[in-house]
């Protein structure tokens, strides 16, 4: 069974296999509910989200956030350290970086300066991971969650993906999957995209908008990592090799030219 709903600013598609149809339906519904729940906690566009609350008051006092938001913050800070500040969820701040985020015990968070956090570069991947965990929890053995290209699967067989070969034809393959790697994300720099919802990516250290001529796909163990790494590969180019090795991920890169050939 395969269902699709708008969420996380894109279309989220969930495919699940199970012999009992109502079990499948319940599991897929639970996975969509989980995604919505995380969106409400981490979206910059929800005024009540953890992220909006943190941005509003965390420089004045300690604030308790959900366990999930705390986890994503921890991972973001780890990547911030690993990349010497290139991956910075505080890039929207006037003044200050992820270094000014202090994670305290019991899911408490405080900022040393007023910051504007944006988890847009990492939270979608996390939501996909959690949706997969929810499906597994409901006893689903084979499933795939695809949130506009951030995808992860559950089960032994990787899903077939459409691979485009130059110049103009497509094939289904499983080649891009690397053994043990069950998650994948693809990022396009914004100026190469013509849809209205195109995202802009920024270099965390210089705060410059990225003008990468490349479309980047990263295959990794979790979708959170894959999601974050696409942007890092975009910034770092070939020097991202060490980081990819360190995080046990693989990147595939291709020039965007010719990719969006819509008239």
């Amino acid at each position: 069974m395969r269902r699709c709903k708008p969420a996380l600013g894109t279309f989220v598609e969930i495919t699940a296999q199970h012999t009992t149809i109502h079990l499948k339906q319940r599991a897929i519904q639970a996975a969509f509910d989980r995604i919505n729940d995380l969106e409400v906690k981490m979206s910059l566009h929800c005024p009540d989200s953890d992220v909006s609350q943190l941005n509003a008051v965390a420089h004045e006092k300690e604030l308790a956030v959900s366990h999930e938001t705390y986890t994503v913050l921890q991972e973001s800070l780890r990547l911030f350290e690993l990349t010497n500040g290139l991956f910075d969820i505080a890039y929207k701040s006037q003044n200050g970086t992820s270094r000014d985020i202090v994670l305290l015990p019991n899911n408490q968070v405080t900022f040393l300066k007023p910051l504007t956090l944006d988890l847009g570069g990492i939270a979608k991947g996390y939501a996909v991971d959690e949706a997969i965990a929810t499906l597994a929890h409901h006893g689903i053995k084979n499933a795939c969650v695809n949130a506009g290209g951030d995808l992860r699967y559950l089960g032994k067989t990787p899903p077939l993906i459409w691979t485009r070969y130059a110049p103009h034809y497509y094939e289904q393959s499983q080649e891009v999957w690397v053994k043990e790697h069950k998650a994948m994300a693809t990022s396009f720099p914004s100026e190469n995209r013509d849809d209205l919802s195109a995202t802009t990516y920024k270099n965390g250290a210089t705060r410059q908008t990225l003008h990468s001529p490349m479309a980047i796909t990263v295959v990794a163990k979790t979708c959170l990592l894959a999601d974050a790494l696409t942007k890092l590969v975009m910034i770092m180019g070939e020097s991202s090799e060490t980081l990819l090795n360190q995080l046990n991920a693989v990147a595939f890169v291709r020039p965007v030219e010719g990719l969006n050939t819509d008239e």
């Binding site: 130059a166 990022s187 990819l244 990719l259 819509d262």
Partner: protein, 179 residues
């Protein structure tokens, strides 16, 4: 070249779809069951908007109404009215997305379900030359070094139109169905 970083062996995702170019997620009947699992029957109550209603919806929602006809069902469990199921379509980028909105009796959104999604691969799909390239192809490709993948949604479609659709149908509920 390190095997973990194939700078020249690029790939990008299109989608995890199985075999066709359009994706049908759910039929109308299946979507109805997903939206109202407890329903025992669906009563078809199709509506045709009057010019005045069409204008009122456009004014209220700020979104133009393309069709005056709308397929609407009332979901019942026995005699209990559970809510409304409204079938609709919006333009994604070039093609239609069939979707459905489920509302409770008070007009609160219960579900948004995508039923059909047609333009998974961008406009290349519609070119004859592009389609012809499939003829006779097998999994063994000679051009592996230049392969790439394209994301099913990120590159060509926005779900903004579905969001607009929800807004428009909520106006339709207020102006037409509620009474």
């Amino acid at each position: 070249m390190n095997k973990h970083f194939n700078w020249l062996a690029p790939v990008a995702i299109i989608c995890s779809a199985s075999s066709c170019f359009a994706v049908q997620y759910l039929t109308v009947e299946a979507a109805q069951k997903v939206c109202f699992p407890g329903a025992t029957r669906f009563e078809a109550t199709p509506i045709r908007l009057t010019d005045a209603q069409k204008k009122a919806i456009e004014k209220d929602s700020g979104i133009s109404v393309k069709s005056k006809d709308q397929n609407v069902w009332k979901a019942y469990s026995g005699k209990t009215f559970l809510g409304w199921f409204i079938e609709d379509d919006v333009i994604g980028k070039h093609d239609h997305i069939d979707w459905a909105l489920a509302l409770d009796p008070n007009g609160v959104v219960l579900q948004v379900e995508i039923m059909n999604y047609r333009e998974a691969y961008g406009s290349e799909v519609r070119r004859d030359t592009w389609r012809k390239q499939f003829e006779g192809k097998t999994a063994a490709s000679p051009l592996k070094l230049q392969k790439d993948i394209k994301n099913i949604t990120g590159a060509t479609l926005s779900c903004r139109h579905v969001t607009d659709g929800v807004k428009r149908l909520l106006s339709l509920f207020t102006i037409v169905l509620k009474n």
